[in-house]
Symmetry: C2
Subunit: 231 residues, 2 copies
Amino acid sequence: LDPQLWHACAGGMAQIPPLNSNVYYFPQGHVEHAAKNVDFRSFPRISPLVPCRVASIRYLADAGTDEVYARIGLVPLRGGECEVDDGVGLLEFDWNGEEKEKEKEKPNSFAKTLTQSDANNGGGFSVPRYCAETIFPRLDYTAEPPVQTILAKDVHGEVWKFRHIYRGTPRRHLLTTGWSNFVNQKKLLAGDSIVFLRSENGELCVGIRRAKLGIGGGPEVSSGWNVGATS
Amino acid sequence: LDPQLWHACAGGMAQIPPLNSNVYYFPQGHVEHAAKNVDFRSFPRISPLVPCRVASIRYLADAGTDEVYARIGLVPLRGGECEVDDGVGLLEFDWNGEEKEKEKEKPNSFAKTLTQSDANNGGGFSVPRYCAETIFPRLDYTAEPPVQTILAKDVHGEVWKFRHIYRGTPRRHLLTTGWSNFVNQKKLLAGDSIVFLRSENGELCVGIRRAKLGIGGGPEVSSGWNVGATS
DNA sequence: TTGTCGGCCGATCGCCGACAA
DNA sequence: TTGTCGGCGATCGGCCGACAA
């Protein structure tokens, strides 16, 4: 999976530490993410934070939901080499809420949260002008109406086809034919987000972010780690 | 699962030995049914047929495909008690091909292989007259046209609703509303069979037989059991 | 008796501009 | 600029009798 598309899908709040950098590994956070109701009192000898070196990073996407995640290989560090590089050790996703795209100069991706009209069966997708003009291929505005076919690769490399038209009064950009099929196949709902990315080789890519995550995301879980402080 | 419906779905070719009867267990046939390419040369000590007593029988149906199967508990017999009751020891299914319903006096089930028109999307189901008159609830032929609602339980106990009408010139029995939904939900194809059964308590039941079995059914597999004879 | 076909009618899909937030 | 709505034409699902195997 292209790291560029991966980061566009994950959003700016998801930070991945550089390869070979030194980070802290938090077993509690890891286990709370992976499973519920693990009782750490059974493992009293585990250190709450473990200095590690980032040995490998794999950018992945769930085959069913398209949700992106990373598999990071960590090697524990021995005694003296415990200097951690920066404060970005904790892998945490928190891209919910309206995202402010604070890209530097060349924003090559755009995310939009689907409205009811976007997700409604039988409807089209209202393309924000900024997205159509900076991310999509150039449209021939001299035609009447201006129309083109958009091809976009998803995180699995599958290509999706959309009809992109500029019409209506006032004029606006819309995705029509192909859109409802995409919504149905990906099981998108109002509130989910769609990401368009123009990759470095000029290819258009498409990713999604679910409003409701496939796993986890529930209310806080007590792992028994700090029960002494709360009881 | 009702054994009556089970046998109607399995067809007359599927024989199940009586409880507590004595049978031969064939490990080779069993393993060839369960897995492919098991090399029996690794287990040269296994006897090719094992006298057993039938300790339990469970009539089951696959949750996904509705295909019926039986789980038979066998207890190996010691030395002297090896008298096998009859020749029905090998559990084998072979219901393919047009089945001849050679029921004795009270045929309470009927099977039909779906035609292209039956399975075609948007079409109905042409009910053979014999099935409509002997299995279905009595239809009021004085109405114009004669119509009734059919309720039928499948192997999971789920109830399906069909509109049964007697119309056309010449007159014939048809299932219309509800039929295409049944075909789609069960993923039926032309060549598959449908079984209607009137159970002892008068309930109507419906089962299916797939033309292509969910598992197995492929070409012959060499298990290495008799390699000496073939090489 | 029953399998297949074309007709036909109603429901749904999906593209459209109007309008307003 | 863009979200939602009603309109409406095209398509599809599904019920029908005609006809023939």
